[in-house]
Symmetry: D2
């Protein structure tokens, strides 16, 4: 156990991180700074201030990071049409590097030599917090209480809380939520307990952000998104800030039952786990971004991006946002978005978002005069196809002759 | 113009290929063999026999290729979770190599020295037919009338037909379908005319295989698919042949409005084009296959497949099914499917198919004892994560020290 | 045959392009502008001016492009450690986009509506010239005489020359060089005739730029190259311009018999061809660049570059320098070179260049305190490896348990 | 510290593993089984038997694994033209999975519940041994003494040896070799001590397998290698077993000073390290294999292999030979080698091996009638290139028009 002078704790104000706060004070005899961020999780943050103060914390940071989160993390990720393992929109993964960055910034501001977080030793989040922190400050000390302490059961945790005067709400005594949840402006996730049997359907009352498709409106709703350089900037004619735009997309998607996902995924630490996600706005945004790219992006650039996307997604999932290889890929991705300008129209209805129109007045590469099935006035010379095919076939013809020989 | 002795024509029995048939006889003074395949397009084939006979054809091939199509082309492609440009399930692309193969086989059987097809000089299908044909018979001659003749407008085509006694149905005189369509057991596609403005929503009455989500049943329906070595083998408890299984999935998907797609895609010949697709069964199958892989496939194998998938998809889209590089990729893909056994349950409802359960009695890699948030009895040592993170961070820490120097 | 007003011809002053010059005037009845570039091929350019003038050309462009060639084409390519098919350093490929660019610039300057070049219809160079030209000016007309005319044998060409008063040197009458050659500051290449049997060793007197290793000095020579942001900037202590540096490396490499290559390569147009190359400076530079990256570049960034390199090499080989996908990759590559600063020492001896030392006073990531086999004073905690290995093994252990079940 | 019943130790008979042997007996109070393999390291193995016996070992395994090593590990790896970080031929990496496999096999044979090895906690070899062992037996216990014990300096190790009656040779007392070395039929490696300054040239007397190029024969020597399905099977006309062939190539390469490498590489555990390698036979083999592929392998298959090679190399370097993703890649690689039959001739001279001829009587794809610069009798239609180029340029022309708009 190393000596710690002062530690910045990622503090939610909930039971677990309150216990951690106390445990850090006891165990390391060090000062604790708390950091609580609003990244759109939809919870009051002021109670966290009060709780921290009661536990003797002198330096309390409560930051509204919603715009930074969407502008500098979510939108850059969506420029790549990022999806992990074919399905997951990385809602949790993309928030962690921002928290890591802010923890390190606050450590610098407050002269702390360590940070601490409440992620367990089995999950991806510990990796994301810590890889980010190490990349930003190689000398930082990191305390992950769940990997250190002996509070290995809920009972022991509750006992520790009561023993140290940490208020325990009724719901905790009753066993707590049947799910482990995480939320931010991009998504809410559910893991654990009832979901640990991947054969069983999640219960309807688990879902919090979206209505069930069955209860969604019987009328479809159309939405139009304007993109500039690959990022959405306006919704239904109204220019919105990044966070406001994503929040509104969440509202619309949630209303129409869009963005539920039930998935078994592969964690970086080596096991499979089952997670359920609601990503209403992100689900719409992904489709819209692909659609605006479909008319503004060159074919080979689009394919290059598609080839690299799974790797980029894994980097984010695994916690390498602050790595040099993620930044190198981002340089490529951002470079490609120069012409990704225009609008997309989608139809939202009972669980699905369908693209029904797209155009780019300034940057469209769709040329109806060439693509047309009608007479194209010579814009395209069909005879060119003969040579194109014959030379592309040449190597295979030579090989086929070998076979016949 | 080369000398042709006998040509095998991919013949649908429709107006265009009937005109081609006659034109081949006139232009090349050669014998024409017709080949008409049932790949599940849902049209009567016997009229094609009659029409061919009337046009003087002596060798007429009408083949039911449905089982071969699904077993040897569709299913192998789905083993890779194949999607082109993030959206398109390659319904047209995957049928062409089978037609090419059969054309070459019939050419060998009948002693023909050429094949002919009715694909235009602007599209992908000419490439797919011809690359396949050349790969299978390097000496074959290929006639693509649309790249050769001067029947460059519908009026000229109709005039030619009437002049040569080819029956022209009323619908053709009236201008024909507003869309260019293609169908087989995997999908039906729409291109051209009304769709040439990518900003405009397709008209509801265009869609033929699926009801609109709005008109789909108000009650969700569950379906269970059993996989063996990566291929679906049973549906709702009933073991079915490949073609029968896909047909039944199409029925279910169509009933629930599943599998519509409105897309601007990049053609191999260099232009963007707008296509609409209905792939009801395939849309369900793709989700189900990803789900069964999610519990049976190793993480890194799954990621390797994801990394290679866009390339594999492009090969199929571009017509390289019979190429050695597609076969090499298939060797890898097929190798990975050994343990992809188990079942998946999906909920179909008003346009969407959602996975709600999956299991593999024999091959699951999901181990709840390790993934659990509860006490795992020591199956996983949380302390291992410390070293894992620290060594993964090491290179970034060294680099960060460089920065601070 | 389209109408041409004025055409810019890539003109070497040699027999072939002189015939082309005349043929263009005759065939298209158009004005011809000549463009001759010094890219380090080591030939006098002024005779080309005289010849062009005699053939009635009024606008004659003779440009020294050596610095631009090395600075904007060769060095950016070497930042990626670019090698085609494991061996070829792309000496010819990388010069073509510069010629294409200059042809289009001169067409704009002179009001020409077409360009012409002397590349044959079988090779890669026609593709490289024309893809570049089309990318830079989509409306340009391109004349490739070798694909058009009937001067299909050397005899016909010579007859045409004599008939039109084009001077024919003795060597041409004697049958010309036994090789088709191309040279610039990066390399000289040999193809054709004597090399068309890939089983036979090239004759020693073919090689022009390098002595045979057998005749190279018996004493090794050391050379030290300084890199800044991935580009070489100084040699043996002397700061040199890009072209001067590469020229000096060529001299050194040539003296020591370095950089010969005998290769069968795959052309973009579909056939295999045998080529021999001398790339003395480039061969040294490639090794040196890898070496400076080896101590300054992050592992994962280096691996990302290695993964993308073959694709980048194919783009250049195939003529896609001016494509958006090459530029996107370049954005990534250039981004990675920020810290590639330092020096490399190599030993040149009888055909090989071996790295024997490298360091970066400002940007080294090599930390002897960590890598040491000696006591490292706690810089690295060996115990971390246990967790690192155990978590990396976890998925394989779970799979192995499945196997045993 | 877990309870161990019986442990299989990878035992060289040298000082370090002898100390480990004794330490295991003392520390774990368990029985030790020794395993010593001949993989071509060129050392007598019988002394190891004697030493083990003296230390009380009852079950002693001494296996000649040379043929298996080359046939089932080295050759499969060379089918992929495998090179790590552009330079390293993976000589150490490829031997470890064989040792891991044999350790697990012997554990099964002898009823041991653990294995142990002498690799340190900083290197790659611990990872390779242990990932392999875990993949083959998920329940095996692994003891890595260097990560556990307190013998952290050479002095303590020597003291322990003397204290326990383990014979210590004079060279050890004198400080041991200035390098950490590893050898097998593929290579010998040097790390540590004198090499820890990457700026300094290795001393000439370090190299053991190759003469310096300066001292190599003044006459070049030609060698001809025959390949079948991608593997070398005969040398200079004589059919040889895999191990015999590689040994003979080593002799020839060593004689001519071929295969030295001085490298800074990136270890999997996160740091850079400097290594020097001699791989005489492998260096020749790599060039030869690329050459035989150059005339027998399809272009796109070759490029697919090149794209995947760095990933495959990293898998082997990082210790994932027994992983499912390596096996999946191997399935692809092996599939591609069917036609890789023929012969290659190389010239060996003072440090370099140059391919000077290659042919495949049965499988060549080199068709001189098509590639020729002479009249090809119509085998290739140059006019095809026009359409080929025009359609490949189409997307860039459309984009260029956008720019001008």
């Amino acid at each position: 156990m190393s000596t710690i002078r002062k530690v910045v704790l990622a503090y939610s104000g909930g039971l677990d991180t309150s216990v951690i706060l106390k445990w850090l004070q006891d165990r390391y005899q060090c000062e604790v700074v708390t950091f609580t961020a609003d990244i759109g999780q939809g919870e009051e943050l002021e109670p966290a201030r009060e709780k921290a103060r009661k536990l003797g914390v002198k330096e309390i940071f409560i930051d509204d990071l919603r715009e930074e989160f969407v502008r500098d993390f979510v939108f850059p990720m969506f420029r790549a049409n990022t999806v992990y393992e074919g399905e997951y929109l990385l809602g949790t993964s993309i928030a962690r590097p921002l928290i890591a960055k802010r923890l390190i910034e606050i450590a610098a501001l407050t002269g702390a030599d360590a940070i601490a977080h409440g992620a367990t030793g089995k999950g991806n989040d510990q990796v994301r917090f810590e890889l980010g922190a190490y990349a930003l400050n190689p000398d930082i000390k990191i305390i992950a209480p769940w990997r250190e302490w002996d509070l290995t059961s809920r009972e022991k945790l509750l006992a520790y809380a009561e023993q140290h005067g940490i208020p325990v709400e009724m719901k905790h005594k009753a066993g707590g939520s049947p799910y482990s949840m995480d939320a931010n402006l991009l998504h809410i996730s559910y893991e654990g307990r009832h979901l640990e049997n991947p054969a069983a359907e999640p219960e309807e009352d688990m879902w919090r952000w979206t209505v069930s498709p069955e209860k969604a409106p019987d009328e479809p709703e159309y939405v139009e998104i304007v993109f500039e350089r690959g990022d959405p900037v306006a919704l239904n004619g109204e220019r919105l800030s990044p966070a406001a735009l994503l929040a509104e997309l969440n509202r619309l998607g949630g209303k129409h039952g869009i963005g539920r996902l039930d998935l078994v995924e592969n964690r970086y630490v080596g096991m499979k786990s089952r997670g359920c996600y609601e990503t209403p706005g992100g689900t719409i945004l992904l489709k819209a971004h692909r659609a605006i790219e479909s008319i503004t992006l060159d074919r080979e650039v689009a394919h290059l991006k598609d080839d690299l996307m799974p790797r980029y997604a894994s980097l984010i999932y695994n916690g390498y946002w602050w790595s040099p290889e993620r930044k190198a890929l981002q340089a490529l991705i951002d470079h490609t978005q120069e012409h990704v300008n225009g609008w997309v129209r989608l139809k939202l209805y009972k669980g699905s978002a369908m693209v029904v129109g797209r155009d780019s007045p300034t940057d469209s590469l769709f040329d109806p005069r060439i693509a047309t099935f009608e007479d194209d006035q010579g814009a395209y010379n069909q005879g060119d196809a003969t040579g194109f095919i014959r030379l592309n076939a040449l190597r295979m013809r030579i090989a086929a002759k070998r076979k016949h020989r």
